[in-house]
């Protein structure tokens, strides 16, 4: 089976307001950590010749946002390509670049500072077409509300179950040195938090976060030069749903199921419940955890709430990082998930390390209400 190696990961701790560093500074911290772990260089013969970056022009308020990071990702007189969707897709693209034979070592770095724009919702409002969606005021928060409502109708998900998800997320986040929101919350607190976008309450929403994350990737032949303990990307799939909310069955996980199906197929997985030891899902809002787990086939359609009640997430090691709910920025939420999964597979997850993790699945979304999903399979 074709695979490429993740030789090292570095995460910048997520904060709600990283006022003391500009993103270049954050990315340099990440680069230095990876260099320290692996000793890689940018030598044109033996090192990294091509870099993949992940960032978003609207969130950075900067045309060609990869221009701003060139220096701190070592791309001066080297190649660089910006993956302008959620960063997990960058890992898939890196996989292609290495399997193609074009590169054998790639440095990948993503960043996003949600604290920079005065409103991340106004940013995502710009994702809607200027004629109808935008003037209506759609943004990723309120379309998530629409999707959450549809999912509640379909599955019977309750406020209690969503509160359970949030409480558990904070418990795990407290053990993750890179997580943002580590304050513990009580069940009652979550239930009582203000309704923001029915049925989404304020404590169901991922906190505004600034972050940066880096990976060193290598071909199978060269992985050992950079790591004694590389982790392998063995499956990748992504899928686009329709654009207009009315054209979609928004509680159906259409795109996620296809993306997962393709990733599992590439990785040779027939039954994810048996094959997968750890799951990281990009749960921007509490309802998304059970819903995405359905799409990844950890429970049947509509059975997400039951899965929560039966402690499914504990059984399958779901979001031991605290998940997106603990706070990562939008455009690289999936990269943080992948970083966590990689650390778990390497046995380097410290306080939140799970036992016997041999295979993991990582998921992210791009666009509103999960219009586009990406799934990655990692193994030891």
């Amino acid at each position: 089976m074709k695979r490429i190696a993740i030789c090292a990961v570095a995460q910048h701790k997520c904060n709600s307001n990283q006022w003391d560093k500009r993103f270049q500074g954050m990315l340099l911290d990440v680069l230095e950590e990876i260099q320290e772990q692996t000793g890689f260089t940018f030598d044109e013969d033996t090192g990294v010749r091509n870099v993949i970056t992940c960032s978003d022009d609207v969130f950075d308020a900067r045309t060609i946002s990869d221009n701003g990071v060139t220096d701190v990702v070592g791309a001066h007189y080297r190649g660089e390509e910006k993956m302008a969707q959620e960063g997990l897709n960058g890992l898939g693209y890196a996989m292609a670049s290495i399997l193609a034979g074009h590169d054998d070592v790639i440095y990948l770095a993503g960043h996003c500072k949600e604290s920079q724009p005065e409103s991340r919702n106004v940013c995502t409002n710009l994702a809607y077409d200027p004629f109808y969606g935008r003037p209506m005021g759609l943004d990723f928060l309120n379309v998530a509300g629409l999707q959450a409502r549809a999912y509640v109708e379909k599955s019977g998900l309750t406020q209690q179950q969503m509160a359970k998800v949030v409480v558990r997320a904070r418990q795990w986040a407290a053990r993750n040195p890179y997580a943002n929101a580590t304050d513990q919350v009580e069940h009652g607190e979550v239930m009582a938090s203000p309704m923001i976008c029915d049925p989404i309450k304020s404590l169901h929403i991922y906190p505004i976060s600034d972050g940066a994350v880096g990976f060193l990737l290598a071909s199978e032949e060269r992985a050992h030069e950079f790591s004694d303990n590389p982790v392998w990307i063995t499956g990748f799939g992504c899928c686009m749903d329709s654009y207009f909310m009315g054209d979609r069955d928004i509680a159906s996980n259409f795109a996620l199921k296809k993306a997962a199906g393709r990733a599992y197929k590439m990785a040779g997985i027939k039954d994810p419940k048996k094959a997968i030891d750890l799951v990281e899902v990009m749960d921007c809002y509490a309802y998304q955890q059970p819903m995405w787990l359905e799409g990844l086939e950890f429970c049947k359609d509509g059975k997400g709430p039951k899965f929560i009640d039966e402690s499914g997430p504990a059984k399958y090691n779901v979001n031991l990082s605290g998940g997106m709910l603990a706070g990562n920025p939008l455009m690289i939420g999936g990269l943080y998930r992948a970083a966590e999964a990689a650390l778990q597979l390497m046995g380097d997850a410290g306080e939140h390390q799970a036992a016997d993790v041999k295979r993991a699945v990582v998921q992210s979304t791009t666009g509103g209400a999960g219009q586009f999903h990406t799934v990655l399979v990692l193994e030891q």
């Binding site: 006022w19 003391d20 560093k21 500009r22 270049q24 500074g25 220096d71 409002n125 935008r134």
Partner: protein
């Protein structure tokens, strides 16, 4: 007179009075010269002042005008009608402008209703065979004579026979009915500006021969569509303006922070790469070439040597303020004193030195009196002499 795109040059100027919008001319004081070349060209001077317009033709000397538009007749008509792209005409030199170009863009659209092609009687008559409706002409045979007086007048006979329609450029002797009127009246009748019954009763139209035939004839032809009217009756382009505005809060980080602090103290800080020694000004976290963190601070300047000069004539908006920059301005590239020679720093030049500046000269910074640790602390550079 020659026509371009169905329009004569004179039409554009002759209709200026009726297209003039006094309310748009309030506060306008401008003189615009038109220098149109070619056989049918000429020179016109349009003066707009105190809410009124004055057009002079055959002016000859247009030097007093604030702006003069030079073009050949065909291009001028084409651009006016929108048949020739104004941008292309300008880029390719087919339209040349002396003087203040902005007047054309700012004043003309405010003071005039856009020109639309003048409709002529000839065009209406000549379109009759096309507009003929054979389904309405069953069993009808007639000859309709048109005797139109005036500059754009003429005589025509429209023959309807056995379901077909022909046009003759003369008045036949045996017309079933002959209609006589001024050519402009004929145009107004056909463009909905004048009511037929009113025109007849007020003596504007004279009809010889079979009155009944006159009435029938009207039903045999589809309505005349004014060219360009299609765009009015068809789909209207609706323009909505929406300005998304998202305030940003940028972090300087410690290095740029120190840079701005330095400006407050009239100092330029650079970082030096520990590996290759190059000085980066303003300071940056990393030396991009060596890919190592570079945090050794040093002072450079304050004076510098100019290496490259860019004189900017194109006024573009500043994306942070939306204000249009004043032009011309000079962007300077320079090497600061004490900096490594491969690293240039760029800033603006004091406008007073625009004509004197040359590469190789030394320049010194000009500081704002009140400095707050921001971009505005450094006003510009000027020649150090």
């Amino acid at each position: 007179m020659a026509e371009y795109f169905g329009t004569k040059i004179d039409d554009i100027f002759n209709t200026m009075e009726q297209r003039f919008l006094p309310q748009g001319a309030q506060g306008v004081d401008a003189s615009i010269g038109y220098n149109i070349s070619g056989e049918v060209g000429g020179t016109w001077k349009l003066t707009i002042k105190d809410g009124t317009m004055n057009l002079e033709s055959d002016v000859g000397d247009l030097t007093g005008c604030a702006v003069v538009l030079n073009a050949d007749a065909e291009t001028f008509v084409g651009v006016t009608l929108g048949k020739i792209d104004a941008g292309d005409a300008f880029s390719s030199g087919k339209v040349a402008v002396n003087g203040d170009l902005t007047i054309l863009g700012n004043v003309l659209p405010k003071v005039f209703v856009p020109f639309t092609p003048v409709v002529r009687a000839e065009a209406i008559i000549e379109s009759m065979p096309e507009r003929f409706r054979p389904d309405k002409a069953e069993g009808v045979n007639m000859k309709i004579g048109y005797d139109l007086a005036g500059d754009d007048g003429g005589q025509w006979t429209v023959i309807v026979k056995e379901g077909e329609c022909f046009l003759k450029e003369s008045l036949e002797a045996d017309c079933t009915v002959t209609m006589r009127m001024d050519a402009q009246v004929f145009v107004d009748l056909n463009t909905g500006k004048l009511d037929g019954a009113e025109a007849f009763s007020s003596g504007k139209i004279a009809i010889d021969g079979d009155m009944g035939a006159a009435g029938t004839s009207a039903k045999l032809f589809a309505k005349f569509e004014v060219p360009g009217a299609d765009e009015k009756h068809g789909e209207e382009l609706i323009s909505l303006k929406c300005v998304p505005s998202i305030n940003q809060r940028y972090a300087t980080g410690p290095l740029m922070g120190k840079w701005f602090k330095g400006l407050k103290e009239k100092k330029f800080y650079a970082t030096r790469c520990p590996k290759c020694g190059r000085t980066q000004v303003p300071p940056r976290e990393i030396c991009a070439a060596c890919r190592v963190r570079s945090e050794d601070f040093m002072e450079v300047g304050p004076n510098a040597t100019v290496t490259l000069i860019d004189t900017v004539y194109y006024a573009s908006p500043d994306p942070l303020t939306g204000k249009i920059r004043e032009t011309p301005y000079v962007a300077l590239f320079m090497v600061m004193d004490g900096s490594t020679p491969d690293q240039s720093f760029s800033h603006e030049l004091n406008p007073k030195d625009i004509n004197r500046i040359k590469p190789g000269m030394k320049v010194r910074p000009v500081w704002a009196k009140k400095r707050t640790g921001s971009y505005t602390d450094l006003v510009y550079f000027e020649i150090d002499d």
